[in-house]
């Protein structure tokens, strides 16, 4: 199949939540090098709270995304609340009325998510933020589609590009957020948000691939 059923996709969000929970300490540790060491805490708090809200009546991928986005936006605060909140809400909007989600719907979803997060956060590629993961990931996905790859193939490209994007932040000098005060001192370490963003993309990609293959 080259699509999956919206009402089979709640597990994708559950997988996301687990990924963030598992990486809580790692994300905080990375944030400690350049930021204030709370990225894992912030992310874990939001995603865990979302899990509690994913009641039995949330049966669709789109609804689960909306719940996650809402919780982040409304109840988490910080930068991550609005940024990832917007990310997931934008994703959910693009598939809210779909019974099935194919590679083109997913394209619209991640483009809307990227668009929302960029408009809000105003970070650009090279600023050493999660945008450095997200932009190449979306580009790689689109390119794969343009080259005629199937959904799974494009997801593989997306994940690989996200990883490269994340790694690219290592040599960057932070230009935005608290780390920007460090100037040259910020070089040589990965950006925490670029890692959480990679983890999210990787988890979504793996979960959808598994669904497509099932």
């Amino acid at each position: 199949m080259d699509y999956f059923y919206n009402n089979k996709g709640v597990g994708i969000v559950l997988g996301l939540i687990k990924t963030i929970q598992d990486n809580k300490d790692y994300l905080s540790e990375i944030d400690g090098a350049l930021g204030d060491g709370d990225h894992g805490i912030n992310m874990n708090k939001g995603f865990t709270l979302c899990k509690e809200r994913l009641t039995a009546d949330v049966t669709d991928f789109s609804k689960a995304l909306k719940t996650l986005g809402r919780v982040l936006l409304m109840e988490i605060g910080g930068s991550m609340g609005p940024l990832y909140g917007t990310f997931f809400i934008e994703m959910s909007k693009k598939c809210a009325d779909k019974e099935t989600i194919d590679k083109n719907t997913f394209k619209e979803m991640i483009e809307a998510a990227l668009n929302g997060i960029s408009t809000l956060g105003k970070a650009k590629v090279g600023d050493k933020t999660l945008i450095d993961t997200l932009v190449p990931a979306v580009e790689a996905y689109n390119k794969a589609l343009a080259e005629g790859k199937d959904f799974s193939g494009a997801l593989i490209e997306m994940k690989a590009a996200a990883e490269k994007g994340k790694d690219s932040t290592k040599d960057m000098v932070a230009k935005i957020g608290r780390a920007s005060r460090l100037g040259e001192r910020s070089r040589g370490v990965l950006d925490a948000g670029s890692i959480s963003c990679y983890l999210i993309i990787a988890s979504i990609s793996d979960s959808i691939k598994a669904l497509l293959e099932s």
Partner: protein, 332 residues
Amino acid sequence: MQRIINDPDKVVEDMLEGFLKVHKDLVVKTDNPRTIKYKNAPVEGKVGVVTGGGSGHKPAFIGYTGRNMLDAVAVGEVFSSPTAKAFYDAFRAADSGKGVACLYGNYAGDNMNVKMAVDIAEEDGIEVKTVVANDDVASAPITEREKRRGVAGEIFMWKIGGAKAAKGGSLDEVIAAAQKAIDNTRSVGIGLTSCTIPAVGKPNFKIENGTMEVGIGHHGEPGIKVTELKTADEIAQIMLEIILPDYPFVAGDEVAVLLSGLGATPVMELYILYSKVEALLQERGIKVHRSYVGNYFTSLEMMGATLTIMKLDNELKDLLDMEADSIGLKQF
């Protein structure tokens, strides 16, 4: 981590519970557990004045709620912006129909959450205008002023905005006064020790013994440079050399000075530092109209201090001198 807490992930909830018990004559809760308000808010016929910010800065932010001060405050996690919803609920709690001035600090999270809250409020017919404090000189060069953070200068912005609103100023007038206050204000911090966010459990940066971080931010953001620990007199000099040319402040000016401890520095030392600050200002012909020395805007248990100077004109003097009743600032 030597802390008097229960669950490290619940410090803000637990703190608010105690805070509302102690200050029930001044501050009350709203239907949002992360939004508190002045007991008389919304004050009939008055523009609402609102702020919000991360916790761990006592008495900021919630301690400046009160008469002629803030009407409602959105409360974030430790060192982390409140949610858009908390800001939005603060707007609702403060609005008497005259509109709301949201006077907050320039942090990425706060900018985003305020923006979303303002959007929702607009849909609901609540008029909200904002002023973003950017008094922290060390956080970016003057050429990139839009990147500068808000620190203790926010207190002056609230005081002025709160007074203007109390005097019956329109929303635009309140915004203009608060904007002028922060435009006329410059701050710089020096850090001597780091601090530990309860939920993190360990210090997230380090200042070596015998050194100090010049230009440190309110969450321990790195400053301009790390130097050996200087004497109080030298520190006063260093801080003024950063602040004074940036505005600039010149002979003949009248100013308000706020020297806040970052938490663990004994207040005794703030007085020692202040003494030299005032002497140096005097040398330059700058007159201190009012001074505030104490723990006005802290960063958990960091050692260090923030020096804030606001240039006054007649309007600002008038508004600054007005009575105010809040936990952090009482003036009669």
